[in-house]
Symmetry: C2
Subunit: 358 residues, 2 copies
């Protein structure tokens, strides 16, 4: 989820002065009452003032096309499941389009969610919301809140078959009213069992795109993913990585845009063939349980470490959009240990010691 959950967060929560969510004798009311459900997506979730030629609109248009392409391809592969769409707007602008497939034939749960957020945050929050704490508050007076625009597409897909990997992606564009902008994103994969050829295909697809844009991108963004998706208390990664980047603004905006566009559109090519290949694999009950335990780890990462998720939960985001990343089912067994030389031990070794795949 990373940054997108932040996008799914309530703009009003971001723009209202930070209040401590204190526990009271009566449980507090849900905080996302400013997300107003609407029937059909408007032509744009951006504000008129942003201008038709702005990067804001351009990015939204690009992501909406990608959302259509990806959800269509997933429905086609699934053969039975369909995406349920929820559209919402917010009083002060922005909104979102969540699409979630539950109970598909191939996919247990798959969500692809678009968010457009107009908010403002304290300069410190803006600094900590960026990966490297780069100063994004240029031009602001000390103590002044920073109005920002953010647009992103976020997705997690959990297939049923334990041989088919879970996949997550998130592509986003940020802009402050002070004119500071940056791109972020990434796609990463989380198998329960290792098939090297699948990892070569997935990583290879992204390496090819990266190489086309910048010879340094793949090595840098692959490492970034390995460093970010770590379940620290387990001393292991969530999955087998992919690419992850943030704070990208050292090139022409259109150049960054083109990279993001290619990455988000490559999701179908990088991921769906792997699912197609594994969706009907035979598996044992024990293998299913291992998959569910890895989903438990997925839950641990998202609820404990994922910055966007934690931020969203604590500031009153649209909960269902934030937590659509959680698997339908997860499992925790006390003190579970993989058997030596087993297939489970093989992939655990990769979670403990990230490898190069291409």
């Amino acid at each position: 989820m990373y940054k997108l959950a932040l996008l799914a967060a309530s703009a009003s929560a971001l723009s209202r002065p930070a209040t401590k969510l204190s526990a009271t004798a009566t449980a507090p009311a849900p905080t996302w009452d400013d997300h107003v459900a609407i029937d059909a997506p408007p032509e744009t979730l951006c504000k008129g003032l942003d201008g038709n030629d702005s990067m804001r609109r351009k990015f939204e248009v690009m992501l909406r096309a990608a959302q259509n392409k990806i959800t269509s391809a997933v429905e086609e592969l699934d053969g039975e499941g369909t995406f349920k769409q929820d559209v919402w707007e917010r009083e002060n602008g922005g909104g979102g389009i969540s699409r979630v497939m539950s109970g598909g034939k191939v996919f247990e749960k798959a969500g692809v969610s678009l968010s457009v957020v107009y908010g403002s945050m304290p300069q410190e929050a803006l600094a900590s919301a960026t990966e490297r704490g780069v100063d994004r508050a240029a031009g602001m007076k000390p103590g002044e809140r920073v109005p920002f625009f953010a647009c992103g597409l976020s997705s997690v897909m959990h297939p049923r078959n334990p041989m088919a990997p879970t996949m997550h992606f998130n592509y986003r564009y940020f802009e402050t009213d002070g004119g500071v902008w940056w791109f972020g994103g990434g796609t990463d994969i989380t198998p329960a069992y290792l098939f090297e050829e699948d990892m070569k295909h997935f990583h290879g697809t992204y390496k090819e795109i990266c190489d086309k844009h910048d010879p340094e991108y793949y090595a840098k963004f692959k490492k970034w993913a390995d460093e970010y998706f770590v379940i620290k208390h387990r001393g292991e990664t969530r999955g087998l990585g992919g690419i992850f980047f943030d704070d990208q603004n050292n090139k022409d905006p259109d150049t960054h845009f083109a990279f993001s566009e290619e990455c988000v559109n490559a999701v179908t090519e990088a991921y769906l063939p792997v699912v197609a290949k594994r969706k009907d694999s035979p598996f044992t009950e024990k293998e299913k349980e291992w998959q569910l335990m890895r989903r438990g780890r997925y839950v641990e990462f998202n609820l404990v470490y994922d910055r966007g998720t934690v931020f969203g939960l604590k500031t009153g985001g649209r909960i269902e959009s934030i937590l659509m990343s959680l698997p339908e089912t997860a499992r925790w067994e006390y003190d579970f240990k993989v058997e030596p030389d087993s297939k489970e031990a093989e992939i655990m070794d990769c979670f403990k010691n990230p490898r190069e795949w291409v």
Copy 2:
């Protein structure tokens, strides 16, 4: 889990200078290598220096007796499952005895874990580890770390039958080397379906004990539980409460001890008859799914809000002891809404608006 997870936390993590767990390209090694497994529990996990007549030893002895009593009673009720015992010690003193039943006939997962911790923490951490931020660093120089002793018994039990509630308790005693001491604890219940008579029995058992000790206790500690066990992002409580208290040191230590002793020993009487009554109740698949969704909420509370769990995970505790509180299975459905006037809606109303049961 609250404070006990903190007890299950690695003493060395507490006593070593706080280091930032930074993500690296290689996932960091597990941090609980100083928990040395031993075959059988020693006569005491306290240090000889503590003295045989100290409250430290007295509390440990009392909790170990309670652990025996409770695990025996749970095994008897289950009829099939048995507790697996893990004992560990730490280099600088202290250790623990975890007992976990997995895959019982009645209980999906039940854990009862004793911990004795010798550690030291920054004065700020000590302040934030106590419920009301009371100054527990009396006598310490500014900036000096505070050596402490802590002993507690923590438990979570998840029955299989969706009509039988989950239960959690935790009783603990803290002492700093400066001679400051306090008691904390509580028992709370988390049903998926409401049976008022069960809640009257559970709360009634604890009210009776409270009333015997102090006429103000039940109202105060019941409210404390309602305020603590809140899933803030959902605007709902985790369950239907019970009692919760911390920082108790305004009476004679033996008086607080007697209250803790009675509370921890009442777990069998307050909880097990409810499970016995509901364990064979008929239920539908839909009701089982609702139970699993409530378990998902349990996971959300423990991983996002529970102070002890979050603290333990981030400072290198014995992970399996900290996370034994998680259910074996949990479920998340996108945008699930209870049907009006259903049994699920009935209990949701209690989660949104905590009630008085006795």
